[in-house]
Assembly symmetry: C2
Homo-oligomer: 395 residues x 2
């Protein structure tokens, strides 16, 4: 596990350091569709969403007892299509037990976050309480959505599917916030929860999110959130993504991958600009990588959705609404496995471990495991086999 697994062949600008591996066999959802939260769904912030949509995907089939659902939470820019970003969790084709999930046994459900741009109601959705003539999107009037709001909405979906109890809730980063929140809010309904690379965001994490927010807000195309869909604040959103990448990867990974090498397209960091000046010049390799990551993100994400989920992430504190975090944790009946990532700068492993210990001290069954890797926060996506091996260790 000390060996980094990086998608070796792929080269910037055509490849991604994050992996993005092609699954060994096609894993397609057995169902992908929408569930409507009929009526006014009351949010923690005090506002309501009318007839909000949850977009979700199902892999495999529910058994007769409907007690084989693995609930997966996705991270900031993810979607309900788990197999697109966590394919190795499904194991190798024909090898039962080689993954964490076995579709012969398990039924995976993943729900797109409220606020996102992958199908659930978000800032880009038409506001049903707006002017019926105008069909206007929420835009900047989209409310603050909490992790708890998402989990309560997901519970409504599971209710409608007749799923009373889930053997496993699992996720990394914001996905892990959801898994832990499930164990707190619905103690009778969760058997195990795997909580990867998360803790309440610390001051540096809040600072990083702040800069990403400022990057988007500073783009004149953002227009206070009132941009037209085809007039995204592109430069701001790309910069936000680049800032985030610094916290998803580790300095060690960057050093090994890029060092001080000039950009692989042949640019010279000592070059002068086309006007003969020297203010910007040629790029180093890491700059080419970041620019490419920023640009690629524009194809798949929306600026207001990004802002919405940043606040979902910022505001998460499991003790909120309880007298203390301890009171919240005392409710837990699930067996919790916390996973820290040794080189994670966004959610440092000592904070994940401290959270596990806090939960344990409150009387819940909790253990802590650590991925030893140079990859940084994203290791739960980039080193999936290592994660599986860690989780398959006997309890």
């Amino acid at each position: 596990m000390t060996v980094m697994v990086i998608d070796g062949k792929a080269a910037n600008p055509t490849g991604s350091i994050a992996g993005g591996k092609t699954p060994a066999f096609p894993i397609t959802p057995t169902y992908e569709g929408d569930f409507v939260l009929e009526g006014h769904f009351l949010l923690e912030c005090g506002r309501t969403l009318l007839d909000a949509t949850l977009h979700y995907a199902v892999y495999g089939r529910m058994n007769a007892a409907r007690d084989n659902v693995v609930l997966v939470g996705h991270a900031l820019s993810g979607s309900a299509l788990v197999a697109a970003w966590w394919p190795e969790l499904f194991g190798q084709e024909g090898k039962t037990g080689s993954g964490l999930i076995d579709l012969q046994r398990d039924c995976v459900i993943c729900v797109n976050l409220l606020g996102s741009c992958y199908g659930s109601t978000g800032p880009g959705s038409v506001d049903p309480e707006g002017d019926p003539e105008a069909s206007e999107v929420y835009g900047p009037s989209f409310p603050l959505i909490s992790i708890r709001d998402n989990v309560r909405a997901q519970a409504r979906l599971l209710d409608s599917l007749g799923v009373e109890r889930i053997p496993l809730a699992i996720g990394g980063s914001i996905g892990a916030m959801q898994a832990l929140e499930w164990a707190i809010l619905f103690p009778e309904r969760v058997g195990r929860a795997v909580i990867i690379a998360v803790a309440p965001l610390n001051a540096m994490g809040l600072a990083l999110n702040h800069l990403q927010r400022r990057a988007i807000q500073g783009d004149p195309n953002w227009m206070g959130g009132n941009y037209a869909p085809n007039r995204q604040p592109r430069a701001g959103l790309a910069l936000a993504r680049q800032i985030a990448m610094l916290s998803y990867k580790s300095p060690q990974l960057f050093e090994e991958r890029f060092g001080r090498k000039p950009n692989r397209n042949g640019e010279d960091p000592w070059a002068l600009d086309s006007n003969g000046g020297g203010l910007t010049g040629g790029r180093f390799d890491v700059e080419g990588f970041l620019d490419y990551q920023g640009e690629r993100f524009l194809e798949r994400f929306d600026a207001n959705a990004y802002l919405a989920i940043l606040r979902t992430m910022d505001t998460w504190e499991p003790g909120r609404g309880f007298r203390s975090a301890e009171e919240a944790f005392r409710r837990i009946k699930a067996h919790l496995i916390f996973v820290g990532i040794s080189s994670d700068g966004l959610f440092p492993p000592h904070e994940v471990r401290a959270l596990a210990e806090e939960v344990k001290a409150a009387g819940a069954r909790a253990e802590y495991r650590e991925m030893v890797t140079d990859h940084g926060h994203d290791a739960f996506l980039a080193e999936q086999m290592e994660l599986i091996l860690l989780l398959q260790l006997a309890d």
Copy 2:
């Protein structure tokens, strides 16, 4: 030295985490003025600067032998006025030997970097080779300036002052790049060099500078560098400063100072926006701090100067122009003291130590010392007494 020295009373938004301490007694320069590099000064990038100005400050007086000059290098946003940003190095009033510098004995000279906006020729200076009618500033046509260019220019100044040999060259960060470069370029002229918190910028450091550059370039007011002086790309420059602050301070310092506290002005991170939406909301304390730091920076810095010095920093590699770094280091005759900062995320201590070892392996007299502090990169400015004590340790 494990205790953090933070300016305790000062509160955001009226104070600074960086210290900014008032010196115990007024230290004023004995001279502050300009030196003109007459003629065409050839730069490493191949271009020349005509009649470039070096702005510099002198504290204390030169002795008859002119062998008591301590040359101080400033960091990215610093100025020649050393006592304004490194006051404690001058010691306590009347207490000889209480600082690193004793103005009864030493004569301090600090030269503003070429490219800066504190007096030396930079992008905001009038280009003497431009249209004489227009009196236009360099703007984006300002060339790439290297650390070596600065050091060679500084040597011309010292030549003119009749200073052949300096007992000490000292600086932190970009200031340390200058100190080491002095020892390499002019081995006969430097007695000791103190090189604090620096190494060639690693991939994460290059990435951070890239994001700062992108923040400025993304501001429409930047206009490719052709902005009017009163139309600075304010949002972009402020964001660049905020990004930089994340690398100047440590996660530990942020956590201790800010944690997840709401902004001290009473904002509520759970608040909705004035339009009832929830995309931005109230700020956490660390956000208020960063916004304040960004705003304050606008009062004292210029966007193109910032870009110019980022490239000076990016391109520094001591082995450049030599067959190898080792060949460069073999030239050194000065006694070098490298200082790493234990919590420095920008120039990690292990890289400073590695640089010291590389220099030593090349045959130079070099030692490594480490400030143990939670402050991060800025500790050499924020914890000056600790730095002095570390440097006063017997060799």
